[in-house]
């Protein structure tokens, strides 16, 4: 707590300021409404001021509120604020209620703090874009929904925020909608996360029907009381909620959407697809961890998914040449670390990495945006080089970000959080703990390679002379702040902020030093490999056939295309002919045909009718006679 006293102690706010909690979420919403309704008449500078200012104000208020909250509330206690009843139907009483505890305080600070830095950067990055107003309106709306998600005290309200950020993600991936590829990427992200969201809804229904409430603390208390460990409803609910988290956080097997989501503007990638929204799945599991602990099998699955994802995504990142796609795969991989930590119940380790990841990944994206601007929109790192002398701020940012991502020891934030995760899973013990540790270590090695490969290729080597836009001060300032945070962010002792280490994390403190040294060595070895590959002039790290698999993200796209997309499109084509409608049309056609056939017998000829009547009479009488003779 010492660091908090030094960081926040000077504020010394009155406790009453906490009552303004709702305003933190309301400010970005107000910004969105102002831009959406009246933005047409605002000059360009005012649009930027409203867009950035509303979130910056929210950030300021969030810091004051957090300081007041941390000084007045002990760990484990929470502040609830009921705004108004939302839905009341039968047993369902959903309430618009905000709940501030240590976990949501951390998230709130990250969202508003990193969010306002990224928005400030965006004010420069998007300055010449036609959709300036639309961009800030969407971004403010996103920040609002993200705050609703983390501050919600009711699972239904959390779901509202959850869906809202999904919507904003869709809108911002497809921001440059004139290119159909961007629209396709937006749809892909929306549909892939929707699969997870459907599981979330199902899990919510299981929880509600089983426990009869949607209030999160009440829900968890009842679950622990009423459901024995490993019981069917607990396992089902945990599994379904895990599905939601997997979709939102781009974990296996729903990770395919995140690399394509890089079609959005770079600040969007930084805020939504690196720092905040994609970590919502981590937050969800952390928030509902008592429920997951009732289902040990699902918790083990969480760890396994995290470990597998972090390895596969790290491997796929090696085969990418688009600077943003490298970062996208690294995001998937780093979230894999957080999920893996949750798999052994280490919330504080996961949240620690979430925070430092938000710093260094946002920084990496902002620096990548500066790189892309400098090379006039080029994304391919093979066509870049020698930038470090010309863009020292961008270089410093990317170096700090990459070092933090690769967990360069002692001087970076990423080192402390990743080290905590990897030692925690080892301390969890057993074969599972050792396997997870192995995955984490191997991942650290791959991280070293893929984070420094673009650094060497972009900033060193042959200098290109045709550099274009230089990022202005408005973009440099957020980068500098984030550079400091990416390096020194490890000093913010998130586990202490969350009220101390979990039992599983605390165990590692007494653990041996050797495994930690191995992890550190693995990361540094990765950086060395990247350097050797660069120094020997190899554009790719991997042999050709491995490179191909990595480049396509291990063929998940092809697999899903074959298994899901094609059958679905075939089905839509079939339904487009409307077989059911065909059947009814056939009925109508049969009626018309019968009509034509019957009306043909109405010749209008008297003789014809008389003959027909006679023939009929003869037949009937003949048949009767025949029957009479036979009987």
């Amino acid at each position: 707590m010492l660091i908090f006293d030094t960081l926040f102690g000077w504020i010394r706010p009155g406790a009453g300021v906490i009552e303004w909690l709702w305003l933190i979420a309301a400010l970005p919403l107000a910004g969105f409404l102002l831009l959406a309704v009246a933005g047409r008449w605002l000059p360009r500078w005012a649009i930027g001021a409203v867009g950035v200012g509303s979130v910056a104000l929210a950030a300021g208020l969030a810091f004051i509120t957090a300081a007041a909250f941390l000084t007045t509330h002990a760990p484990g206690t929470a502040l609830s604020q009921t705004l108004w009843p939302w839905l009341s139907s039968g047993d369902l009483h959903a309430v618009m209620s905000l709940r501030l505890d240590r976990l949501s305080t951390v998230m709130m600070l990250v969202i508003t703090g990193v969010g306002s830095l990224i928005l400030l950067y965006a004010a420069g990055y998007m300055a010449d874009d036609d959709g300036y107003r639309r961009f800030f309106a969407y971004m403010d709306l996103f920040v609002f929904f993200m705050l609703v998600l983390v501050l919600a005290g009711d699972l239904l309200l959390l779901f509202l925020g959850w869906e809202g950020v999904g919507l904003c993600s869709y809108l911002l991936i497809g921001f440059w909608y004139r290119d159909p590829d961007n629209g396709a990427a937006a749809r892909k992200a929306f549909i892939a996360t929707r699969i997870g969201d459907a599981a979330f809804v199902a899990g919510l229904l299981v929880l509600f029907t089983g426990l009869g409430t949607t209030d999160i603390p009440e829900l968890l208390a009842r679950a622990v009381q009423q459901w024995p460990a490993g019981s069917v409803p607990a396992v089902a609910a945990a599994l379904l909620l895990l599905g939601g988290a997997v979709g939102k956080s781009a974990q296996l097997p729903l990770q395919v959407w995140l690399p394509d989501a890089m079609a959005g503007p770079t600040p969007v990638s930084a805020l939504i697809h690196a720092a905040t929204m994609v970590t919502a799945g981590v937050y969800l599991i952390a928030r509902l961890l008592p429920l997951f602990e009732l289902a040990p099998a699902v918790l083990a699955l969480v760890g396994a998914i995290g470990a597998l994802t972090l390895l596969l995504a790290a491997y796929a990142a090696l085969g990418q040449n688009d600077i943003k796609r490298i970062l996208a795969y690294s995001t998937i991989s780093q979230i894999g670390y957080m999920i893996m930590a949750l798999g052994v119940g280490a919330v504080s380790a996961a949240m620690f990495h979430l925070v430092s990841h938000a710093f260094f990944k946002a920084l990496l994206f902002l620096a990548a945006g500066g790189v892309i601007l400098s090379f006039g929109g080029e994304h391919d790192i093979r066509r870049m080089g020698g930038l470090w002398r010309r863009r020292p701020v961008v270089f410093a940012g990317f170096l700090a970000g990459a070092a933090s991502l690769a967990a360069v020891p002692l001087v970076t934030a990423g080192f402390y959080s990743k080290d905590l995760i990897i030692s925690t899973v080892l301390a969890a013990g057993g074969t599972e703990g050792r396997l997870l540790w192995l995955a984490g270590t191997l991942g650290a090695f791959l991280t070293g390679i893929y984070s420094f490969r673009p650094l060497f290729m972009v900033f060193f080597g042959r200098t290109r002379s045709d550099l274009q836009d230089r990022p202005g001060w408005i973009m440099a300032l957020p980068m500098l702040v984030l550079t400091v945070l990416a390096l020194a962010g490890g000093l913010i002792d998130v586990p202490a902020l969350l009220g101390g280490l979990d039992a599983s994390s605390a165990a590692h403190e007494s653990g041996a030093l050797a495994p930690e040294l191995i992890v550190v060595a693995a990361g540094l070895l990765g950086i060395l490999v990247a350097y050797i590959a660069f120094a020997t002039g190899r554009a790719s790290i991997l042999p050709h056939w491995l490179e191909r698999a990595a480049h396509t993200g291990l063929g998940f796209d092809r697999l899903y295309d074959l298994l899901l997309v094609r059958p679905f499109l075939a089905l839509t084509r079939a339904i487009r002919q409307d077989p059911v409608d065909r059947a009814f049309e056939g009925l109508g056609r049969a009626a018309a045909w019968t009509h034509r056939w019957l009306s043909a017998t109405q010749t209008g000829r008297l003789r014809w009718y008389a003959s027909a009547t006679t023939l009929g009479g003869v037949l009937v009488v003949g048949a009767m006679l025949l029957l009479a003779v036979q009987s």
Partner: protein, 102 residues
């Protein structure tokens, strides 16, 4: 007085019915079709009377009276229709009166 066997009366009735039916089917003029219908009705009436005589029942003659009144009504309406058709269309040829074709 010698009684006429029922068979004979029925044969006669059948012959009359066949004649009338042939008339209905082959004649073109509606007037003759109507007359042929009368013949058919009378054939049926004869069969009723013969049957009544055979079994000594009055029912046959009652039925004949009914057929007679029916025939009278039929002729009255039928002739009125014929007149109307003639006035309207100017012909009584059944083959040319086919406006009701479906």
């Amino acid at each position: 007085m010698t009684t006429i066997p029922a068979d004979h009366a029925l044969y006669t009735a059948a012959a009359l019915f066949a004649l009338g039916l042939t008339g209905v089917l082959v004649r073109r003029s509606l007037l003759f079709v109507l007359m042929s219908l009368e013949v058919m009705l009378n054939a049926v009436g004869l069969a009723f009377v013969a049957g009544g005589a055979r079994w000594g029942q009055a029912d046959g003659q009652v039925m004949f009276l009914l057929v007679l009144t029916l025939a009278a009504a039929e002729v009255a309406i039928g002739l009125a229709l014929l007149l109307a058709v003639h006035l309207r269309v100017g012909t009584l040829d059944g083959d040319r009166l086919s406006r009701l074709r479906g």
